[in-house]
Amino acid sequence: MQKTGRTMLAKIWDQHVIARLSEDTDLLHIDRHLLHDLGGSRGLLDLKSRGLKVHNPELTFATPDHALSTAPGRAGTSKIGLELLAALRVETSASGITLFDVDQPGQGIVHVIGPELGLSLPGATIVCGDSHTCTHGGLGALAFGIGSSELTHVLATQALIQRRPKTLRARFEGKLPLGVTAKDMILALIGHIGAAGGTGYAVEYAGSAIRELPIEGRLTICNLSIELGAKMGMVAPDEKTFEFLRGRPYAPKGEMWDLAVKAWRELPSDADAVFDREVVIDVTKIIPQVTWGISPEHVIGVDGKIPDPKSVDDPARRAAIETALEYMGLQGGAPIAGTPVDWVFIGSCTNSRLSDLRAAAEVARGRKVAAGVRAWVVPGSENVKRDAVAEGLDKIFVEAGFEWREPGCSMCLAANGEVVAPGQRSVSTSNRNFVGRQGPRARTHLASPASAAASAIAGAIADVRMMGR
C-alpha cells in the first residue's frame, strides 16, 4: 500500500486514542471539558445520582452564559436562571472544578473564554455540551459539541467514544475584498455546499485567505462549521496562533511553552495528505452575505434578490422557499437590501470578540441608530467587555444609540428572557436563523458585525460597502 501524508485530524485523533473499540470507533481522551449554566449542573447532578465522581476536575472548567440576563446588574435573570447559576456554583465547588463566575475576568460565552484564557490549545481535544464547540478549532484544536449523555460520560471518564469522521478540506483562496469578513466567507461556503454539506465530516479550513485571517476571524469561521452540518472544524496552527496564545493565563509558560510549540508545529496536515472531499472558494468574488430564510444555507449577497419560488422547478425546493418566505414575511424576487428591520443584535460566540466590536464601532462611530430600531451590543466575555471599555468602544456605541450590555449569550438563543418579539425582524451577528431561535416567530437575518451595524444605522438591511468607510 502506498503511504500518503496524514491530515491534521488524523494526527490529533491518533494521539488521543486510549483504546480502539472497532475499525472506526475509538475511546478518545478528552483534554478540556467546558461546562455552562444550561447543562453543567445537570451533568454533575446526574453523575452524583450514579454514585460517580468527576474523573479529572482539573481538566474541567465552567462559566455561566446561556441563562444569564445581560441587563446591567444581571437584573433580568429569571428565577430558574438564578437556580441554575446557584446549582452550577454549588456543584462545581463540590467537585473541585474552576468556575469563572459572574463579573469575574474569565466569565463569558464558553466559546469566547476558552481561547481567550488559553484553555483551548492546538492539538487538544475539547468538548462542551454545546454544538458551537467547533469554534475552538480555530486554534487547531479538535473541538466538538456533545449531548447530555456524552457530557456525563466525559465527567465520569475524561474520555469519549467517537467514530472517526470523514475529512473535508475547504480552501479559501485569494485576497478578501474590502468590507468582507470571516463571517461572510463562511456564510458563502454554507450557501455553496448547503446546511448538510459537512454532515459526517471534520472540516479543515485552509488556503491563503485563511492564513491571512487573524485568529478571531478563524474562530468565527470554525464557529459556523456546525451550520454546515460538521460537528468539527479546524484551522492549522501557525505563528499567528502561537502569538495569540502566548502569555494567556492558562497557556503553558517557560520551557513548557517551548515544548508545546514544538509539538504544535507538527500538527498541520502533511502536504500530500488526502481528504475525502475538497471544496475551493474564490474569496475575491464574495460580497457581504445576509440570510433571507430559516436555514443558514438560505443566504445571498447583500446586493442580491430574495429567491423567487415561481422560478424554481423542483417542487420540494419551491415549497421549502415558500415556507421560508412566509415565515420571514418576505417577497420572492425583491432585493434584500432595504428590508426594514426592528432589531439589531451584535454578539454571540460567532461575533462578540474585540475585533468584532471594533468593526461594528467603526461603522457606528459618529452616526445614529435609525429611529424605531433597537440595537444591542453584547460583548462575548467580561474580558472583552473590559478591553472594549478601555478603548472607548462602549461610548461610541452608546452615543450612536446602541445599548451596551453585560457578557452572555443573550438574544442568540433567547433562553434568558431576551427575545425578539413575534413578527419582528432582526439583523443578528449570531449563527442560527432557525424558526423561533430568537423568540417565537422572530425573524432573523444573519450577517457580519459591520453589516449589522450598518443595518442599525440605515434602519434596514444595508450594504456596509456603501457606508463610505
Binding site: 472506526d24 481522551h29 456546525i226 460537528k231 503553558p252 513548557m256
Partner: protein, 211 residues
C-alpha cells in the same frame, strides 16, 4: 441506561420538510432547568403543533389520527441539525417516538438518539420517499415494521428495505448497554494513557500550576 430496542411495528408519521433543526423539535425555554425530564413530550415540535393562541394546529401531522399515536417518524434530509440539546431526543421519546427513518441526520442528534435507546436509521432518499408514499396511501393506517437484528424495514404495503448500521451501535441498542459503565471498566487504560501523556504533553495536564 437506555431501554433495549429490537423489533417495532407501529404507526409511522412522515415529516418530510428538510433541515428540521433541534430548535424546531424543542424550544430552548422548555429546557431551562434541572427537573425537565417528563415535561417535554407535550412541547415536541411545539412551533408546528400549536397555533399562536396555544390551540392545536389541525394541519400538523402529529395532531391528526392515526398519526397522533406514531412511534416512528419518517423524516426529510438533515433532520435534527443544529443545537446539541439532547432535550430534542428526550421530547420525542416522551412523545412516544422510538425510531426515526431519514436520509440524513444532524451528527450530534444522531449520537444522542442512541444514548436514549432511540433508533435512527439512515437509508437512501428514494427509500424514504417510497416509505412516506406507502404510509400516506393508507392514510397512516398501515404500520411500519423495523427489525434491528435483521436490519430491515417493512413498509405498509409489504415492501422490504434493508439498512446499514454501525455494529457497535446496533449491539448497544439491542442490549441497552450503559456506555459509562462500559468505559469505566477500562479505567486502568484511561489512567495508563494519562500517565504516559503527562510526559508527552505536560502542558495539557498541568492546568493548575500554569494559571
Amino acid at each position: 441506561m437506555p431501554k433495549p430496542f429490537d423489533k417495532l411495528t407501529a404507526t409511522a408519521a412522515p415529516i418530510m420538510r428538510s433541515n428540521i433543526d433541534t430548535d424546531v423539535i424543542i424550544r430552548i425555554e422548555r429546557l431551562v432547568g434541572n427537573s425537565i425530564r417528563g415535561t417535554l413530550g407535550k412541547w415536541a415540535f411545539g412551533s408546528l403543533r400549536y397555533l399562536p393562541d396555544g390551540s392545536e394546529n389541525p394541519e400538523f401531522i402529529l395532531n391528526r389520527e392515526p398519526y397522533r399515536e406514531a412511534e416512528i417518524l419518517v423524516t426529510g434530509p438533515n433532520f435534527g441539525c443544529g443545537s446539541s440539546r439532547e432535550g430534542a431526543v428526550w421530547s420525542l421519546q416522551e412523545r412516544g417516538i422510538r425510531a426515526i427513518i431519514g436520509s440524513g441526520f444532524g451528527d450530534i442528534f444522531f449520537a444522542n438518539c442512541f444514548q436514549n435507546g432511540i433508533l435512527p436509521i439512515i437509508v437512501d432518499k428514494a427509500v424514504v420517499d417510497s416509505l412516506a408514499a406507502d404510509i400516506e396511501a393508507t392514510q397512516g393506517a398501515g404500520k411500519v415494521s423495523i427489525d434491528l437484528e435483521a436490519q430491515s424495514i417493512v413498509s405498509p404495503s409489504g415492501k422490504q428495505h434493508s439498512f446499514d448500521i454501525d455494529p457497535r451501535r446496533r449491539e448497544g441498542l439491542l442490549k441497552g448497554l450503559d456506555e459509562v459503565a462500559l468505559t469505566l471498566q477500562r479505567d486502568n487504560e484511561i489512567h495508563a494513557f494519562q500517565a504516559a501523556d503527562r510526559t508527552a504533553r505536560p502542558w495539557i495536564h498541568s492546568t493548575r500550576t500554569s494559571a
